[in-house]
């Protein structure tokens, strides 16, 4: 009898868990300000995904001030993609997943398998105010050799 009760409770819990998993609203969850400090690179990146479909990116790669890029993003299911304000597409689209409410994992879908972890974090005002505005379509940092 006791065994049957335990099984029943376990089934109920599993059912509840599955229900919660299915109800994650990715579109809501991705919105906010995120911070990425990758272990393998000398980089400090802040990303703001706004509800109106625009983003602000503040990146410090190596030395110097944060560089500010902006543009638009969209989420199709669990695939995040976007373009910079000059029309240039992101280097990849990303598969989004979450670990708890405050950690977002972006896995590149361009075949590189690159994975970056972002934590929910307010962008410091000094980063925003001190940043250098980038003309998103102007800087040519690297291009394939034809």
């Amino acid at each position: 009898m006791k065994k049957s009760i335990f099984i029943l409770i376990a089934l109920l819990l599993m059912a509840t868990g599955c229900k919660k998993e299915k109800t994650v609203d990715y579109a809501k969850q991705v919105i906010g300000e995120w911070h990425c400090v990758p272990e393998t690179f000398d980089a400090d990146v802040y990303l703001a995904l706004d509800p109106d479909g625009t983003f602000a990116l503040y990146q410090q790669i190596g030395e110097g001030r944060h560089r500010h890029y902006s543009g638009e993003w969209e989420l199709d299911g669990i695939t995040l993609s976007g373009s910079y304000s000059g029309g240039e597409a992101w280097g990849s689209s990303y598969q989004v997943s979450f670990s708890g409410g405050n950690t977002m994992i972006l896995k590149a879908l361009n075949g590189s398998e690159e994975v970056m972890t972002y934590s929910r974090n307010t962008i410091p005002s000094e980063v925003m105010e001190g940043s250098v505005e980038m003309k998103s379509d102007a800087a040519i940092d690297c291009r394939p050799v034809l």
């Binding site: 190596g62 990849s92 998103s136 050799v145």
Partner: protein
């Protein structure tokens, strides 16, 4: 006594017999054997203008030691038993850094003075016979890199003064300072170009100077009582608060409160007839007090709170008289020993005198060694820069070489631009020139009803002779723009607590530039009644036009170059080498083994036309070092005149994700 009388007579005869003027004459005498000895020891350039009645001699070590032990008197009587000398003393006043001075041989140079009526060559021939004298140097006379034409400023007469102020300081005349902020005002010149300035407006939001940065203006007198300069003068507190006529700080110089007069050997003075105001003009470009409600603004004159850089004056010209390279050397050593981290030198020896760096070094060894003393890391005078910086004017002979010593790799040589961002008609260019800056060019505005002076540079001057504010032009004026921007950079590095070696700082200075090569193509520049072809200047004005904002950004740090893993990439490196990166001559890339491994380099990276080509096979970041030439297509040094090697460490980030605009996502 008989010998002396005979020699004096002989010298007099030689002088009378010579049809060639002293300064043009080659080394000649009536005694070939004696000349032969002289030629093995002479370092002074017989064709260069030099001081009469004075020679510099380099003694052997033994004699120098004897002088130290026994005093100069005994040795003097022995050395000059056969000639009459009026004075014999160490060429330089006891440099503080004795160990370095000894290492450079500065302690072995002595100055010999004698009757000016005796030809220097003949006297030198006689001295050359002494075995204790290893070398002799004529005390050559450099000249200021300006035509010294000073046009008094007339407040309110200019069309520009009424324009909306584009400089954020309350200084009434700064509307006429296109060199600081150029809005392309056509009343200056029809060809005036917006942005043809030193890019300092935005830089002032980060710093406008710092009092711990001292710039030695080695030049004519700086009028330290000028109301627009008094607050920017370096002050030797011990002398200011000490006793007049006494060397209160025991540095070998009496009453050197704001610097020293190396010509009169005393106080700085600007009351001599013929005084041009050149030094005061140069000082005002660097550090006229900003925001004091009077006169002009300057590059590093502070924010109006007494926080600008400081000017030390090493007076090397006095009215029509100028010092020789002994005085120049003394001034550089004084500047090093008393706290200057930049030597601002708008003078030099005309480009045609020297055929190579070696030729200069062997001709003027004393001044060269003084430069080495000033720039030696052990004499660094600011915590943010590992060795002091020397900036020289490129010269105004319109020839394709820099003047010396600016052409030496140890110096920065500055060419001059007009408000049209084009080379001024007078400027030197080409070999040995490192960077360009506004120097003024009045010839481009001569059809504008007398307002053409506005194409020159407005700065402070001397009311007693030419006026409180005057227009001048020359590479003399371009030079302090680079010194001022460098001073701003050191101020900012100090503010951020950043440290650079002297070479690193010079290299980022020389790469903080805007491109002018795109203007130097097949076109012509109107020049009064004439025109000047621009193509000859292409890639020969140095690395480009100095930009203060870019320097401060490089001091903050330069972002990594981002490349995509597994793909041959071409990366623009102009953030590291300036806007003219595409036109630089690159010497090579140094990749350490660790970096090669970390990035998984499939082949050695290459660089050409400002583009780095690199193929990384691993996701990682690492640093490589790229070398290039600042100024021309070949390096100076040895038997050449040429550019300076600049090295930039470039951080490479290789990722699987890459956006062509450098964005992270």
């Amino acid at each position: 006594m008989k010998n002396k009388t005979f020699l004096t007579f002989t010298f007099a005869c030689l002088a009378a017999a010579s049809c060639i003027s002293e300064n043009e004459a080659p080394v000649v005498s009536q005694d070939p054997a004696r000349d032969e000895i002289l030629m093995t020891k002479l370092t002074g350039n017989p064709t260069a203008e030099h001081m009469k009645g004075n020679l510099l001699v380099f003694l052997d070590k033994e004699t120098t030691l004897r002088i130290e032990k026994e005093g100069i008197g005994t040795v003097t009587s022995e050395l000059f038993a056969e000639v009459e000398v009026s004075d014999f003393r160490p060429a330089l006043r006891s440099p503080k850094n004795r160990e370095l001075a000894r290492e450079l041989g500065l302690d072995r140079w002595f100055s010999v003075s004698f009757d000016e009526s005796i030809p220097v060559h003949a006297f030198a021939s006689e001295l050359a016979k002494r075995p204790e004298i290893c070398a002799l140097q004529f005390n050559s006379l450099p000249r200021l890199a300006s035509d010294l034409k000073a046009v008094p400023f007339s407040a309110g007469a200019s069309p520009c003064a009424a324009k909306e102020k584009s400089i954020p300081f309350d200084d009434p005349y700064n509307g006429d300072q296109w060199n600081l902020v150029n809005i392309g005002d056509k009343s200056i010149a029809k060809t005036a170009r917006e942005g043809a300035d030193v890019g300092v407006k935005d830089a002032w939001t980060l710093t406008a100077g710092s009092p711990d940065v001292v710039v030695a203006v080695c030049d004519a007198p700086v009028k330290y009582t000028h109301p627009d300069l008094a607050g920017s003068m370096w002050v030797n507190e011990a002398e200011k608060n000490g006793t007049t006529g006494v060397d209160d700080d025991d540095n070998g110089y009496v009453d050197d409160i704001h610097g020293y007069n190396f010509i009169s050997d005393g106080a700085i003075r600007w009351d001599v007839e013929g005084e041009s105001g050149h030094g005061t003009h140069v000082a005002g470009i660097i550090a006229a007090v900003n925001g004091n409600g009077i006169g002009i603004s300057s590059i590093a004159g502070g924010s109006g709170k007494g926080d600008g850089v400081r000017i030390m004056n090493c007076q090397l010209f006095e009215g029509p008289n100028g010092g020789g390279d002994k005085e120049m050397a003394d001034a550089l050593i004084y500047a090093a020993d008393n706290g200057a981290c930049i030597a601002q030198c708008s003078y030099g020896y005309p480009a045609y005198i020297f055929s190579s760096d070696d030729n200069y070094i062997s001709t003027l060894p004393l001044e060269y060694r003084a430069l080495k003393y000033f720039t030696d890391p052990s004499n660094s005078n600011h915590p943010s820069i590992g060795s002091n910086l020397v900036v020289y004017a490129a010269g105004n002979e319109a020839t394709s070489n820099s003047d010396y010593p600016g052409a030496l790799p140890v110096c920065v040589s500055v060419t001059a631009l007009g408000p049209d961002f084009l080379p001024a008609g007078y400027t030197n260019y080409g070999r040995g020139c490192n960077i360009a800056a506004p120097g003024g060019d009045f010839m481009i505005g001569d059809d504008l009803d007398g307002y053409y002076n506005k194409c020159m540079i407005l700065s402070t001057s001397i009311s007693e002779t030419v006026g409180d504010y005057v227009w001048m032009e020359g590479s003399s004026q371009a030079c302090p723009h680079v010194s001022g921007v460098a001073a701003l950079g050191i101020s900012y590095a100090g503010k951020l607590g950043k440290k650079f070696t002297g070479d690193q700082f010079r290299d980022i200075l020389l790469t903080s530039v805007n491109d002018i090569n795109h203007l130097l193509t097949d076109g012509i520049k109107p020049y009064g009644e004439y025109t000047i072809g621009l193509k000859i200047y292409h890639n020969r004005m140095g690395t480009g036009a100095i930009d203060a904002w870019k320097l401060l950004m490089q001091i903050e740090g330069t972002p990594s170059v981002m490349v995509k893993t597994g793909q041959m990439c071409s990366a623009d490196i102009s953030e590291y080498f300036g806007e003219s990166a595409k036109d630089l001559t690159y010497l090579g890339i140094d990749v350490r083994t660790e970096a090669k491994k970390a990035l998984g380099l499939a082949a050695a990276p290459t660089v050409e036309g400002g583009i780095l080509k690199i193929y990384c096979t691993k996701n990682a970041s690492a640093k490589i070092t790229v070398s290039a030439i600042a100024g021309g297509s070949h390096l100076g040094g040895g038997d050449k005149i040429g550019g300076t090697e600049i090295k930039r460490e470039i951080s490479i980030v290789s990722r699987g994700v890459h956006s062509s605009n450098g964005g992270w996502l």
